[in-house]
Amino acid sequence: MFFKKKNKDQHRSESIMEKRIINFKKIKRAYYSLIILSSLYILSIFCPLLMNNQPLAVKYENAYYFPAFTDFFDGFLGKIFKFKYYNGADFGQSQETSFRELKKIFKEENKGNWVMMPPYPYGPIETPLSEFPEGVEPPTAPDAQHWFGTDTQGRDIFARASYGFFISISFGLLVTLLSYIFGIGMGALLGYFGGRLDLYGLRIIEIFSTLPFLFVMMIMVKFARPSFIFLAAMYVVIKGWIGITYYVRAEFYREKARDYVAAATAMGQSNFKIMFKHILPNALTSVITFAPFAIIGYISSLVALDFLGFGLPTPTPSWGELIQQGSNQDTKYWWIIITPLVLLFLTLTTVTFIGEGVRQAFDPKEYSRLR
């Protein structure tokens, strides 16, 4: 009896959000797309350990070195700590000696020194021209060493495309997140307070929305070489937040007239709490369903910028740059362009599936049309 009563007390009904997540899981195509894409993305975070010309571990004269980890952490902490980059010279060879050659040399020497390379021993920005057989010029076709071939400078396309995947998705996510934070904040303020603030806010939005993004970028690039963060920030400021602000502002306008807001005011709740605790969760539906499609947009516009050469600085591995290379080459070097295109296609399709699923899961009116 006691047990039963306790159980009953535990009954907690699902919130609208939980219901939608359950709905989403029922949409198999979207759910599996999400699982595949997110696991690939998580995998791609570890790219420096999985495909790199830096070895995972080196034993040299009884000391151990871990060059690939340097590479891996450099991405996050490189700004704070200066990591030492190793090359052949640190291990008794010439500076140009790659670790793959070093591995062979150590093996031949058989002095107890060894090199452990990552599963795929080529990096995205390395040009192993010295390892090409006599008379072979890059780009080379796919073979056992370079799965998807090499580009015009002899860099490994598989490695570049994989790193490009990480960068593209990260870019899409980051820009979407930042524009959402910024746009929701602005939209909430304009919609909730309205009046004069709204009037001037909207004018500012209008000014921003008339800025031609590509031209602004072209001019900016003249002054400073854009970094990843700089590009993302530009996207958010010039483009991303505007659409979100419009949506959220309208939702806030509608929701603030509802009685639950009046009820919260009547109990003495502060404006900030009303905006973000009460209204926001009710105002988010449309912008959430919109998010996957926003990510698609940002991924493809990064590709476009890179393609035009106004994107990320040159050695950075990116799809747009690969496509650009491929489109300048003779069609017999098809692999340069096919690889990034196929990857782009697959990625965007998967995200679209996810977006469709989210939209369907969020649709409260599936059955409400009389027929």
């Binding site: 609208i16 009685d259 109990m267 709740q269 009460h278």
Partner: protein, 596 residues
């Protein structure tokens, strides 16, 4: 009466939801004859709307399903057709042409981007193939028939430019446009004020007399049925519990549910301390209905207040200092501005209102929609800025308080809103909603203690403690309004404004909530301002009453006095608009009908 028009035989409409099958309509049979008006009455969820939608085959499938039964249409040439089996294309010919429908919400059932005229013209063009000029002429004729003032102007007007009652008239004109054999009116007056309701009902009666059309009238209010129907079908949980002529049902109700419905409407000419509810008449045990009280009169007599008790109560109340004084309060909204934004003209929503409220009293505030009663309530709580005047609560001038003082004041003064569906945040559990005011004012040490308090409060409003973890969408309108009451009680206020708090509820549920409010007042000595458009409800609740019209006070005084001896014409109009469902009135109507 052998001229059958429509026969519903053993209709079963089920909905397959995640939580199992809902038998919305469970084995319902009735016959509709030419020229009669059948009222279907029941509380929300009783399946009355689904029945009518099933006849129109407007049930979304899935999740709906016709699990059995027939809807047989008798054609003029004597042949029959089962509407549930004909192809959907054929069904479209029936819809609008032979059977048409008026919905509850006139605000949303007209398309806001077309003029009212266009929408009727469209219906005419679709079903009768009329040309534009002809259709226009016919539409204006129809508008004239539904007693719309200046039909030509309404023809050109957009839905937002006309009032709710006028919109419902346009809807009726649209439904009548193709001279349907059956008109289904699904709660056509529920969203309207009583005064407007009265006029719409008169209109429908007249049209029926002139055209001899057949009507199915759906409502939750037996009082309305008494005004319009010839026969009544009482539905409860998807089943018909009683049917018969209006006179029979009102003079001699058999089923306890019907009796409950008859008794729960606040009577105008009696003073009760609580309303009998359906629960007083019946109990459901193991799916069987057990009758508790057999006579409506008996039930009413048991709860009647003696005049001397009432006098004593009012005398005692008036001896104290008023808890709230409103002096010359004005709330204006700018209506016209010049080029530079200077306000030229105001809408005077509240125009120079003064009254006192005594501790422990219920002051009723009654008037048609748009009379400023809601704005008045909100101005008192400073939810809407006042233009001029004073609101003095316990010696403090509310309108001059600083922001932080006002926050403290809000503990003492609470409001419960009209719409239980929108006044609870759908994203918050019931518990979270109730403890929110406690969090804001830092009452009790932590959220665990507050949750315990929320459980207590839920029990106070006769709900279950374990409802704290549920979300509002799982509850019915009446339950949600109880949750709102619990939330208002959390801060242990002394003064509560009830702003049309029961207007969105079914009559039977309304009675339960009203009783609850009265019980709470007795237990905690609350002071209420009770706002409603329905004079009978206000009269039941209040000690004194203020009748408002166009932002001004028409009449103020003892509630019973005003009801029994109204001085102003406006008050008389409000009183006459109430569908009381008195036997004499029904008899008179029937006699008039017999005599033509």
């Amino acid at each position: 009466m052998s001229d059958k028009l429509l026969e519903v035989k053993n209709l079963k409409t089920y909905f397959h939801t995640e939580n199992g099958t809902v038998k919305a309509v469970d084995d319902v049979s009735f016959t509709l004859h030419k020229g009669e008006t059948v009222g279907i009455v029941g509380e929300s969820g009783s399946g009355k709307s689904v029945t009518s939608l099933s006849i129109m085959r407007l049930i979304p499938m899935p999740p709906g399903e016709f699990a059995g039964g027939e809807v047989i249409w008798h054609k003029d040439d004597g042949t029959k057709e089962n509407l549930l089996e004909i192809p959907i294309d054929r069904m479209r010919d029936y819809r609008g042409n032979d059977i048409s429908m008026i919905f509850q919400e006139p605000m949303t059932s007209l398309n806001p981007v077309f003029t009212c005229g266009d929408q009727v013209v469209e219906a005419l063009a679709l079903h009768q193939g009329l040309g534009e000029a002809e259709a226009r002429k016919k539409t204006i004729e129809l508008f004239d028939q539904v007693k719309l003032p200046t039909p030509e102007r309404i023809f050109e007007a957009y839905p937002h430019q006309i009032s709710g009652g006028q919109k419902q008239r346009v809807m009726i004109a649209m439904a009548m446009s193709c001279e349907p054999k059956i008109l289904i009116a699904d709660e056509p007056t529920t969203a309207l004020d009583v005064t407007v309701q009265k006029r719409i009902l008169e209109l429908m009666l007249n049209l029926q007399k002139e055209k001899g059309s057949t009507t199915i009238f759906i409502t939750h209010d037996l009082g309305v049925i008494a005004e319009i129907a010839d026969r009544v079908i009482v539905m409860y949980k998807g089943k018909i519990v009683e049917q018969g002529s209006v006179l029979d049902i009102f003079s001699n109700p058999k089923h306890p549910y019907t009796k409950g419905l008859l008794a729960c409407r606040p009577p105008l000419h009696k003073r009760l301390y609580r309303l009998p509810t359906v629960k007083d008449f019946m109990e459901v045990k193991d799916g069987k209905i057990i009758e508790k009280i057999s006579s409506v009169e008996e039930a009413l007599k048991a709860v009647e207040v003696k005049p001397e008790d009432r006098e004593a109560r009012i005398k005692k109340m008036m001896q104290k200092e008023p808890i709230l004084k409103v002096e010359g309060l004005k709330t204006y909204f700018p209506s016209r501005r010049n080029f530079f934004g200077k306000v030229l003209d105001y809408v005077k929503a509240v125009d120079d209102i003064s009254f006192d409220v005594y501790p422990g009293e219920t002051l009723g505030l009654v008037g048609e929609s748009g009379c400023g009663k809601t704005t008045l309530g909100r101005t008192i709580l400073r939810l809407v800025p006042a233009h001029a005047g004073k609101v003095i609560y316990k010696g403090k001038s509310i309108l001059d308080l600083s922001k932080s003082d006002m926050k403290d004041m809000r503990r003492d003064m609470q409001i419960i809103f009209q719409d239980p569906y929108s006044s609870l945040n759908p994203r918050m559990t019931v518990g979270a909603a109730i403890i929110e005011p406690l969090q804001i004012h830092g009452i009790l040490a932590n959220d665990n203690e507050r949750m315990d308090k929320a459980r207590q409060l839920l029990e106070t409003v006769s709900m279950q403690a374990d409802h704290v973890n549920r979300y509002p969408h799982e509850f019915s309108g009446g339950q949600r309004q109880r949750i709102c009451v619990a939330r208002a009680l959390a801060l242990e206020p002394e003064f509560i404004i009830l702003d049309e708090s029961v207007s969105a509820l079914d009559v039977s549920v309304q009675a339960q909530v009203l009783n609850l409010l009265n019980e709470l007042q007795d237990n905690f000595n609350f002071t209420y301002i009770f706002i409603s458009h329905d004079l009978s409800v206000v009269k039941f609740m209040s000690d004194r009453m203020v009748v408002m019209n166009r932002g001004k006070i028409e009449e103020m005084g003892d509630a019973d006095d005003i009801c029994y001896h109204p001085k102003r014409e406006y008050t008389q109009r409000l009183i006459s608009a109430i569908p009381e469902g008195r036997l004499e009135d029904i008899r008179e109507r029937f006699e008039r009908k017999m005599n033509g």
